[in-house]
């Protein structure tokens, strides 16, 4: 009888909170968007599913051993933890919500040695890390996940169009205004008293404007891990929404004349150029921005494996089995940050609004940069390819092409837009490096 009662009081139905219900609904909606609407499904399916898992009551899949031990708050366990975490506690005392909050705060603020001791205590009482918490610490906490994705993306990237017309790299630079403009936006929101963001949080939110999933996750995990869930969801959702967000801005900032500009055909690119390019980028990173070395190093490594032509089996694995495996775990790990207490917050709303602003600003400055360059150059650039500088590879380049075709059915901009598109990836990785350097990583 007692056992049946245990099953009932330990069931989800008995323990579920309104927040958890809300988050499960949000995650089901993410799955709907991914499956039915084709919103970046490779990431949003694992993220959405991971989010549901993270909100299963009592399962504690996204909690560490210590957090699980605190959650189940047996007096003897709390007593043992209180000694390690230096929280005042008495076995006889009533255990209120505040008591548990005190334990959680102390755990969050504890130094590494204390955390290790607390983990030992929790383990001795039979508590373990939740599955998603383990995935998170291995894949994102160590930063290896986003880096491997970046390596795979590098192995899939063709720098041919960029090499054929290097000045389009500048469009990829201009679009990074989206990132830093959003940081400013977050600061403004804080100044206005509407919301409250620290400079770290502002920077992590700004990186959404980089329109680059792994870069966003990498930066967020370094600067503001507690916002990681919302930032990743915003980044991937807006990347999927690029075909909706960008065209109005592109049309507003250009004349019909400009949109019809036909660009000179790209020159053929030599294989050796393609091999030397990732090495050149790496050397520049080494000389000017060591803090971007992990991200851009792995990216260039992947690209070199692809282009050098002598390690095709490694390149194949980087592009398939390895990136797919990492994607599964990365998505579930991001999902682990969609717990109700972390996501259902005013800040999330701010992140969603600011992320949208970031995309819009980046799109705009990319287009404007193209117009600026046309003032000084005889070889005109169609400003529609400027918007591709935000990255969101290859979606943004496709959007440039589509809007171009709408204005001139003979005007194929796809290849021209691929240049700024991949430059945007490098650009936001550089921006990420600057941020981490500037904010003392």
């Amino acid at each position: 009888m007692e056992n049946i009662l245990n099953l009932w009081t330990g069931s989800g139905l008995y323990n579920i909170t309104a927040g958890q219900v809300a988050m499960i609904v949000v995650c089901l909606f993410l799955l709907y968007l991914a499956v039915k609407k084709g919103f970046e499904p490779l990431l949003l399916v694992p993220i959405g599913f991971g989010g549901i898992l993270a909100n299963i009551p009592e399962a504690g899949l996204a909690l560490t051993a210590v957090e699980n031990a605190i959650h189940f708050h047996k007096p003897e366990v709390l007593l043992a933890l209180s000694e390690v975490l230096k929280v005042p506690f008495d076995v006889g005392q009533e255990i209120t919500k505040e008591t548990l909050v005190a334990f959680k705060e102390a755990y969050k603020a504890a130094d590494s040695a204390t955390v290790a001791s607390a983990m030992n205590v929790a383990r001795d009482f039979g508590y373990g890390n939740g599955m998603l918490a383990n995935f998170y610490s291995v894949v994102i906490g160590s930063t290896v996940g986003p880096l491997l994705i970046f390596m795979g993306v590098g192995a899939m990237t063709d720098f041919g169009p960029l090499l054929a017309n290097p000045k389009t790299i500048l469009l990829g630079a201009a679009a990074q205004f989206g990132i830093f403009g959003t940081v400013l936006g977050a600061a403004l929101l804080t100044s206005s008293g509407l919301m409250e963001f620290s400079i770290y949080e502002a920077a992590a939110i700004g990186i959404i404007g980089g329109a680059d999933g792994p870069t966003s996750i990498y930066v967020a995990s370094v600067l503001a891990p507690h916002l990681l869930g919302a930032i990743a969801v915003a980044a991937y959702s807006y990347m999927a929404l690029v075909p909706v967000i960008q065209p109005p801005i592109m049309n507003a900032l250009t004349t019909a004349e400009e949109r019809k500009i036909q660009m000179v055909q790209l020159r053929p690119v030599n294989q050796l150029e393609k091999i030397l390019f990732p090495v050149a980028v790496l050397i520049l990173v080494a000389l000017f921005l060591p803090d971007a070395a992990p991200l851009l190093g792995m990216f260039c490594f992947g690209n070199l494996m692809k282009e050098c032509g002598v390690v095709d089996r490694l390149s194949d694995t980087a592009q398939n089995a390895l990136i797919n495996t990492v994607t599964i775990f990365l998505g579930l790990s991001v999902g682990s940050k969609l717990g109700a207490d972390k996501f259902l917050d005013l800040q999330t709303l701010g992140i969603l609004v600011l992320g949208m602003v970031a995309f819009a600003v980046g799109t705009g400055t990319g287009v404007l940069m193209a117009k600026l360059m046309n003032l000084f150059s005889t070889n005109k650039i169609n400003p529609l390819i400027g918007s591709a500088g935000v990255s969101a590879v290859p979606m943004a380049a496709r959007v440039s092409n589509k809007v171009g075709l709408d204005n001139n059915p003979q005007n194929f901009l796809l290849m021209h837009a691929m240049g700024p598109n991949v430059a945007g990836v490098i650009g936001s990785a550089v921006a990420a490096g600057v941020m981490i350097k500037f904010l003392g990583g």
Binding site: A187, I199, N270, E273, V430, A431, F438
Partner: protein
């Protein structure tokens, strides 16, 4: 201006400045590199890294072709 605001402005100046400096240098380096490549190692060369690597392989291929008759005899196991 709040501390956060000034930090954000600073970050923007430094960040965009650096992004542009870095990518402008990249434009120059890339352009220079491409010129050198096209000057010293034009069209036919590009496939070099692949073709230099291939000989060994094609050497094998030819070798294997020659050998296959001999090998076929002593291989009773159906899968190789």
């Amino acid at each position: 201006m709040s501390d956060l605001m000034s930090n954000a402005v600073d970050l923007m100046m430094v960040g965009m400045g650096f992004v542009f400096v870095f990518l402008v240098i990249l434009v120059f380096v890339t352009t220079f590199m491409s010129k050198m490549v096209l000057k010293y190692a034009p069209a036919p060369e590009p496939k070099a890294p692949v073709t230099t690597a291939k000989p060994a392989a094609s050497d094998d291929a030819q070798l294997l072709a020659v050998l296959s008759a001999a090998v076929a005899k002593y291989r009773s196991d159906h899968k190789k």
